[in-house]
Symmetry: C2
Subunit: 560 residues, 2 copies
């Protein structure tokens, strides 16, 4: 049952398995967009490849095509004008099912080998994909390259490693021999087949079209399932490139490319008929609560892996590195204009202020110093544009404007509109900081996606922790931060994190940020609070995507 | 983090881990109720212990007790008259939550050690539990001992082994060091805590009150969750004994016994309020579709692991051991009067008959020979009573009477009422065999739980396979049998089993039966068809019962 691609990529797989076992730092792919890592011509070739897509139909030979999808918008104002095939979801499901038996027959080793080859191939297209991610999601270039390229690939590889580990526990066969005292033993031979659950739908989001897509995509594929990738209607190119690259690998291997298809449904009703299709057995989704809950309520035939909205918090009790804390927070709040599901929204500070290595700071001083830190960090336009990127959606833009108008509380840092000389049409906003009391929770207790954060005044640190626990348990969170020099407070936050099931970052003052999650080491989401019902990645993320079907019979010749 | 009980039971755990990895035969506990295995006095002591419960209140010191539950009925007609505490489910949930932090703090090793000790302790009570299982479920003595005692304990141990394997992959901590080129590396220390999802409810069934309960019970416990065990209202004693034994182990270990409680709710509404309680995060259930679907539709706050009704089939195409086949089927249909979720209901035979080593047999001959084989097998009263046991429920009894009256098709073997001299009030029925055509599916295509099977005439073997695939995919099945000497037919059945996701037994003519499932080796249910959404046991059965909560901080002294 071995497979050439499995043998070829085995060293990579073994390293990934080692990484998820020890959870130390490891990377399969360079996050540095350098000629040394990617080749002398890679940057220019990637840019040219991206440019070549503009204004043209993006051909994928898929069944059931009825027209072309248009309407992709670039937050940078670039005219993309790419057309994508619109296909009947029923035809895609049918084609996916036809592709499934050969994929199952390949076995766990074969599928794993092909998935690893796919990831290698995606990595070779990192520059092209990075441009696509940048221009559709609005991420800055470096983030688009890293998060959209190698970091997304690492998350995909991580999922493959988990899937392989679980599948590899299932022996292909066994010899079962039960003693019967003086009588001859009962002897059976048994075979165990890993069988995918059925068609998987992976629904992409607008802000991280590859990073939030690859875990579900590769978890489903590796465990034997065909995948229909449904991108956000305005953020298509990264998904289309991914699908084309994967289909290319499948075709090279003599496999049916329709194992992986891109779905831009012809209508809302057609999209719903895909999600509720009786042969769709899993759905991976990142996005709003409204649609996520619709999926959970209506797609009962499928296992839904959902990452939804949340309210991420930081409790600021005290610090021995005030400037480091402010620098760290300024970057966290600025990165991609807060358009990350991991960005902190509620920074909770005791009313009496905080003790720091620079002396006691009142609540108002913390507000002012944090506002100033953000301003200073974004003072240089080239830094600001690289970090902020552009605002992806109209909703985020209008939300930011409401915050700026004081509708969410007292504005302590007004969001500014910046002009990006490289992209004059880009819509760029600096973060808004709002001050409010813990009692006035109506705005900070719901996700305000984008560059909007609140410095919340709580009566004291225990009240701050209680507030944050309630927010996390009721509304969900992917991240929780704490700044404190007091061990008792740290311990209280640790216990809180267990009860509320949220990842905790303690006293980050350097080059690691609460909103960043490293593959193989950091679990992205715990799956234990309302922000996500699954984690990238763990055993639970893969184990229920396949089933084991056994058969047993007497051993020929043996008495039984 | 090691624990004395973990160290003590480590050899047992290692053997269980080896068994689930190789899936060969292994048993931790003797299935032989012999003095050699269990001690000279065990049988008599167990009988006396059982007798001592009769007619008395079964005291368990649980919170929220408001009265006593009565109404347990013995299919053997024995007056049990045991009273069990009725407790407010809200009080049990609250007590369970209070018990949870110390259980979490014990860590994976500690919890695993305590669970293994619990299983050992249950094993020492095998005779007492066997009497309880026999007298409440109506199983015959040997089955009650084996399935109710050691086999149930093996399934519990199997679940603990899976839970341990998954939890053991999570390192307690990691050192994360990311190179930064010429700059100092980013260095973090990270900690990972395995945290249970929350209160688990395990709902027992009337026929296998321990075998179908221990997997969920021990999977939930080992992964850090408190368990509220809700037995069938007429089959309580096996659960009550289990709960008392487990609470005894907890108390010995200085742990809160309310980690495991018995719930006999004061009302239907109180029961529903338990299942839908926001702090109940998992429900394990074996039973009817009606209630199972109610749980799935109404307990959206919980992960529901459900084993429901199904229609198990056997396709009889040909055989080279006709007598062996008939003997094997006669036992399968007789065992516990077909009151097993794994018993075959639809035996599908081609209209043109089958080729056998005794020559060609027409459809009618197969019907007649099978009826005769069942009759012969049950000819000796002592064999009949030992194998049949008694009919557990009124519903099964009246269903059997409807079958006997010809309401489900032509009766080719009428069920007989037997008199059990040891238990004059026992309600004993031999199996009913009904002949019908594949077109008349209204009776055989729904679960007819109990001693009712159909010999279904299909036009030919391919039609038989198609029928069975449809039954399995639409109505679910835990088992599928095939008798065929033709490799092409065997291959077709194997592929069918993959599509319909059902365990296949091929040409069983000896001492292994399609309705028996061996721990560590046979997956009970695939989790991939409507009969069950989970399997005993696999990674998926345990992996989503806990979450991992991480924390990270800079390493003291390291630059970052």
């Amino acid at each position: 049952m071995s497979h050439p691609l499995f043998d070829q990529h085995r060293p990579l797989l073994d390293q990934a398995l080692q990484a998820i076992a020890t959870r130390g730092y490891w990377a399969a792919f360079s996050e540095n967009p350098s000629p040394k890592a990617y080749g002398e011509d890679a940057a220019e070739a990637g840019r040219a490849a991206f440019q070549a897509h503009l204004g043209k139909p993006f051909e994928i030979e898929q069944p059931g095509q009825s027209g072309w999808h248009v309407g992709e918008k670039s937050p940078y104002g670039l005219a993309l004008d790419i057309q994508y095939p619109v296909c009947d979801p029923q035809a895609l499901v049918q084609a996916a099912q036809q592709a499934m038996p050969a994929w199952q027959a390949l076995g766990a080793e074969g599928r794993t080998g092909v998935c690893l080859e796919m990831l290698q191939r995606l990595n070779q297209h990192s520059f092209e994909i990075a441009h696509a991610v940048m221009m559709t999601s609005g991420q800055g270039w470096m983030m688009a390259f890293q998060a959209g390229g190698p970091h997304a690939q690492e998350r995909g590889l991580e999922a493959v490693a988990y899937a392989w580990r679980e599948m590899s526990f299932i022996p292909a066969s066994s010899h079962w021999e039960k003693p019967q005292g003086k009588h001859p033993a009962l002897v059976m031979e048994k075979h165990f087949e890993v069988v995918g659950r059925g068609v998987a739908v992976v629904i992409g989001c607008a802000t991280f079209p590859t990073w939030n897509t690859y875990p579900g995509l590769f978890a489903a594929l590796a465990t034997g399932n065909p995948v229909i990738l449904k991108p956000h209607s305005q953020v298509v190119l990264p998904a289309a490139l991914t699908v084309r690259i994967l289909r290319g690998v499948l075709a090279e291997q003599g496999l049916d490319p329709n194992l992986v298809t891109l779905c831009l449904p012809p209508s809302h009703a057609a999209a719903q008929s895909l999600y509720t299709h009786p042969d769709v057995h899993s759905i991976d989704y990142t996005g709003s609560n409204t649609f996520g809950h619709w999926l959970q309520n209506n797609c009962r035939q499928a296992q839904v892996y959902a990452e939804l909205a949340g309210v991420n918090s930081i409790v600021i009790d005290s610090t021995d590195d005030y400037k480091g804390m402010l620098r760290n927070l300024a970057f966290t709040l600025s990165l991609y204009s807060g358009q990350m599901c991991t960005t902190s929204q509620a920074l909770v500070v005791p009313a009496q202020g905080i003790d720091t290595n620079d002396g006691h700071k009142t609540y108002e001083q913390v507000c002012g110093d944090l506002a100033q830190a953000v301003d200073q960090f974004l003072a240089k336009p080239e830094v600001a544009h690289a970090v902020l990127g552009a605002i992806q959606s109209d909703d985020t833009l209008s939300r930011t404007e409401r915050a700026a108008a004081g509708e969410m509380g007292r504005v302590i840092l007004a969001p500014r509109t910046l002009h990006n000389p490289d992209f004059p049409q880009a819509r760029v906003r600096t973060p808004a900081l709002i001050a409010c009391d813990a009692e006035h929770a109506e705005h900070f207790s719901q996700e305000q996606f984008g560059p909007i954060s609140f410095v919340v005044r709580a009566s004291d640190t225990p009240a701050a922790l209680t507030l944050v626990e309630g927010l996390t348990r009721r509304h969900g969170a992917l991240t929780l931060g704490l700044y404190s020099t007091r061990q008792a407070t740290v311990d209280a936050a640790i216990h809180l994190s267990w009860r509320a099931k949220v990842a905790l970052s303690i006293n980050l003052t350097g080059g690691v940020f609460v909103n960043q999650s490293a593959a193989y080491s950091d679990f992205h989401g715990t799956g234990g609070n309302p922000a996500a019902n699954a984690s990238y990645a763990d055993s639970a993320f893969v184990a229920n995507r396949f089933r084991v079907v056994q058969r047993r019979q007497h051993v020929a010749g043996a008495q039984s």
